[in-house]
Amino acid sequence: MENKIFKLIKKKEILKLLESLTKEYNIFVPIEDNGDARFSEFKSGQDIYWDYRNTKISPKEILFPQAETLFCFGPEAEVKSEEPASGGKGYLIFGIRPCDAKAISLLDKVFGGEDFEDPYYLERRKKTTVISLACNKPQIDCFCTSLNGKPDNEEGADVILFDLGEDILAGAVTKKGEKFIEKQNKWFEDAGQSDVAKKDKIMDLSLKKIKSQIDIQNIKERLDNDFTASFWDEIHQKCLGCGICTYFCPTCHCFDITDEINPKAADSKTPKGKRVRCWDSCMYPLFTLHASGHNPRPTYKERMRQRIMHKFNYCPENYSEIFCVGCGRCVRNCPVNIDLREMLISIESTK
């Protein structure tokens, strides 16, 4: 960080820069959508929603879409893998928040880890450049600092940007990011010391705005022996069993695979079916329903326990990382105000 070389670019110039990259990349930027922010493909002449707090739906949907066709099949039709929609172009995820960038680095461990490689995810991921935008205005339910994050956290990003008002300060994080800036050098100018000082001041202020702090340093060890603890009987009680917390979570990655049949296929050469994978949620009873009719997680209690254990115990065990980045989406959107922070505090404080 100390020796980072910063570059400066005008906000207006960024739009031109992105415009010039549309042939090379599928570019995703935050835009305003029904009063909220959402990542969407950058279109010529479109503005970026610079002041967005964070997107409602996390940008994981770019690399891990809610529904994805894996391949098509039919009696005589060739089994055909779906080409990723990029048409050979790269992916540029522009302006995602540091918590969500970190979440991508966590998804990488699942989909591109030592044990399993997910070709569909990796196909996109390998071609992806992540440009994050540091947080100037965290929300009241943001708690990234409790999970080793901060408004200018760099994990998962190739380049990190800072919004200084009129200008954007850019710093490379990875080799890929360095190359990216180098290649686009004509758009940038060297940043002065005052620009960097301005950035530091903004980041200091931003960090101070994150007031929600929970101590969960020992949560993994705590949960090691707590599978049958009594707090599980209580913390699930008001859960409605919807999928909001998991669908909105930038690190939740469970999916379901089904075959969709198209009975209207005109002839035997036309694919009669396709295999699709969709987001699934451990909060749904169907998630673990066996073909026999038995369900090992029959009630809300077991399902809530699974969600917490997966994020705060199993993932630390398997990937040495807590699978929560403190983005606050589950807290913000829960219809009955189940607050993950409160749950973790109650787990930590139960004897």
Binding site: N34, R53, A67, G243, T258, V276, C278, P335
Partner: protein, 323 residues
């Protein structure tokens, strides 16, 4: 008001009339209260009553009476519940559909002045809020305070409430609140009905395409107690799992039509929806149709037969024989 509620609940526990009480606690976010389940009398002090107690608590009742749970002769719990007008109507529906035994439910009815729709104050980033009579005082990050009129923040379904208190209850607390007429409540749907078919269809598609199939609308609805929803069934599979508009539409049409003659317009689905899908325009259309065709309103009487669960010999049948 809250003191009266606490007093009543304390009495119920003391007289051993209930095992569990379902009410509201203070939430963790401004303008939010959160459902709570009280089994220990000392937790009664934490109960709150304000204009953010918007969740329909009736949704929690059926799960206590699932027949498969526990042994055959397991003692069914006696549940006390705080019920606004709409919650009360949901409870009536559940009793009529034999999901909960009336004798096991102690209904503390409350005259409700309507609940705030926090989505109506999006422009201010609220960090704190306080309710004072008919005003709501909100504070933003820079400690700027803004005073808002509660009346202007009321949720759409609350603005024109016809049933501000439950019709079936064991005790009713509070002062009677002003009700609106059926005509006022229907006004928005009458406007919508006037639009040409293409426009209505387009609106439906627009709204439905926002849906991400998180099932929050279904899960928040007291009427959606099916052990396995048609949308989740795999044998046979009725519906694809994707978020393509055809799958989403099938899900929503199925879900909404299952509410015909049962929906009490509490708004639980609308409030739960994280994508702001305008579900009410569709559910309310069915409410209005059921009222017009069968002169029936859901959740207002324990005796009246639900029209879609009733058969009369002189019922019109042409729609079956000559579609």
């Amino acid at each position: 008001m809250i003191e009266k509620i606490k007093e009543t609940v304390k009495k119920l526990f003391k007289e051993n009339k209930i095992d569990i009480f379902i009410g509201y606690n203070e939430g963790t976010l401004p303008l939010r209260s959160t459902p709570c389940f009280i089994t220990k009398p000392e937790d009664i002090e934490k109960l709150v009553w304000n204009s953010y107690c918007s969740n329909n608590l009736a949704v929690y009742l059926p799960r206590f009476f699932v027949p498969q749970q526990g042994a055959k002769d397991a003692k069914l719990p006696r549940i006390g519940i705080l019920a606004k007008g709409c919650d009360g109507r949901s409870i009536v529906g559940l009793i009529k559909e034999h999901q909960i035994p009336r004798e096991n439910i102690y209904i503390i009815g409350i005259h409700c002045g309507g609940m705030i729709d926090t989505k109506k104050i999006k422009k201010v980033d609220i960090v704190a809020a306080e309710e004072k009579n008919d005003k709501v005082l909100v504070e933003d990050e820079d400690k700027r305070k803004v005073e808002l009129k509660k009346e202007e923040l009321l949720a759409d379904m609350c603005k024109t409430c016809q049933y501000t208190a439950p019709v079936v209850y064991d005790i009713l607390l509070g002062k009677e609140k002003q009700k609106t007429s059926k005509e006022d409540r229907e006004a928005f749907i009458k406007e919508f009905e006037k639009k040409p078919l293409e426009e209505r269809w387009k609106y439906f598609q627009e709204q439905i395409s926002k849906c991400i199939r998180c099932n929050a609308c279904r899960q928040a609805c007291p009427n959606c107690y099916c052990k396995e929803c048609f949308a989740d069934q795999t044998k046979p599979k009725w519906i694809g799992p994707t978020n393509d508009i055809s799958d989403v539409m099938f899900y929503q049409i199925g879900r909404i039509f299952h509410q015909a003659g049962r929906c009490v317009d509490c708004g639980a689905c609308v409030r739960a929806c994280p994508m702001d899908v305008d579900l009410r325009v569709f559910t309310y259309k069915l409410i209005k149709d059921v009222k017009e065709f069968f002169e029936y309103e859901a959740g207002v009487s324990l005796e009246e037969n639900p029209p879609l669960a009733t058969f009369k010999q002189d019922d019109k049948q042409e729609f079956i024989t000559e579609p």
